[in-house]
Symmetry: C2
């Protein structure tokens, strides 16, 4: 199994967490999104969308799209499960995951930030407001969903990590890397983030602990 990854990619971080939670240890192949290595012919052949991550699992074409990859891992490597048993609960966990992965993450990726700079002449401060606006909006929605739902436990759903935590922790990590979010406004998110970051699986998958992370990657 091989994972094409970049330390700072939120989508790759999600898949790394899902892999470590399931005890899978793929070979890591690094594609530097800042240097534009996703547009190099070799990677482009693998994933014409030129996006990360991509997962190769045995024979067959590479798997792309982080959420599709995680659903695949859940089907092929079901233990430990990242989705609960009942459809209504599964829908809740997926809705939490999608709130950060679909309603916020697309706005913070390099190709979108480059578009804003190129076409709308976004300067550093207007770019930062853009990032903060979408990340904070999703944080507020997730905080409301978690704080008002009896199914919230030590983690986003009950007392074991699920797809919701797999998506929320990279979202929070991006917010921490890009600006200083006011976490007091999101106490449930803050508590769950703290709990996840006590777990070896989340720590190992964290951007700063990747081989391709620069020495000064901080957080």
């Amino acid at each position: 199994m091989q994972l094409y990854t970049f330390w700072r990619s939120q989508a790759a971080f999600r898949v790394r967490i899902a892999l470590t939670l399931k005890g899978l240890e793929p070979e890591m192949l690094y594609v530097d999104l800042i240097k534009g290595e996703q547009a190099a012919p070799l990677y482009r052949k693998l994933n014409p969308a030129m996006l990360l991550p991509a997962l190769v699992d045995g024979a067959g074409p590479p798997l792309v799209q982080s959420l599709a990859i995680i659903e695949y891992l859940e089907e092929v490597y079901p233990n430990p499960p990242l989705l609960p048993e009942h459809p209504r609960d599964r829908a809740h966990v997926r809705a939490l995951a999608h709130t950060v992965a679909i309603d916020a993450h697309p706005f913070v990726v390099p190709r979108v930030r480059n578009y804003l700079k190129r076409e709308f002449h976004a300067d550093e401060s207007s770019e930062k407001r853009w990032l903060q606006h979408w990340l904070d909006t999703a944080l507020g929605v997730v905080e409301g969903m978690l704080s008002e739902d009896a199914r919230t436990g030590q983690f986003c759903f009950g007392d074991a990590p699920s797809l919701a935590d797999v998506c929320l922790i990279p979202h929070v990590t991006s917010a921490l890397m890009l600006y200083s979010p006011n976490f007091d406004a999101y106490p449930t998110v803050k508590r769950i983030f703290g709990g996840c970051m006590q777990l070896r699986e989340f720590v190992e998958a964290h951007p700063r602990n990747q081989t391709d992370a620069p020495a000064n990657s901080g957080t």
Copy 2:
């Protein structure tokens, strides 16, 4: 069963197709995104994210996030299936779906277009370039994925509609409503779109055939 919907919402269109394909006929409740009815207290209580669609299926909280709703429908009302049997094929169908629903659709919703106008002073032509850029980029990726894959048939996967068609047809419909895409560049997409629009289920779910669509909704 009740669906909170808006004729022009691409996410609501997806769920409407999934519902009609599965022979489900929920009561339709209309929320006008242009008039801002999603921010009215009654809807806000139902879905604090103030986004469409939301589905109420019996007792229990409303289901939100279109892709999470469709996965729920697939689990609870499995026939006809919208995902193939094998995990690798399911991953391929989900990846096609996510390419349009995650990599393009978030950029064309009203709240994002309003942000661009408000914060980046986007005028009509720069807004149109923005819409076209993301919709066309995803169309190109999907065309590549479909044209190079032996699993592509009459529809995106084989000869029955799947989650991929459920997401692709609203994407193409948005492109047709927002600008004039050059479909000659996307022959496989064009062929599949034409085939889907021959089906009663896609036609019934189409924006222009909704009770809340204005008489001059065109396309």
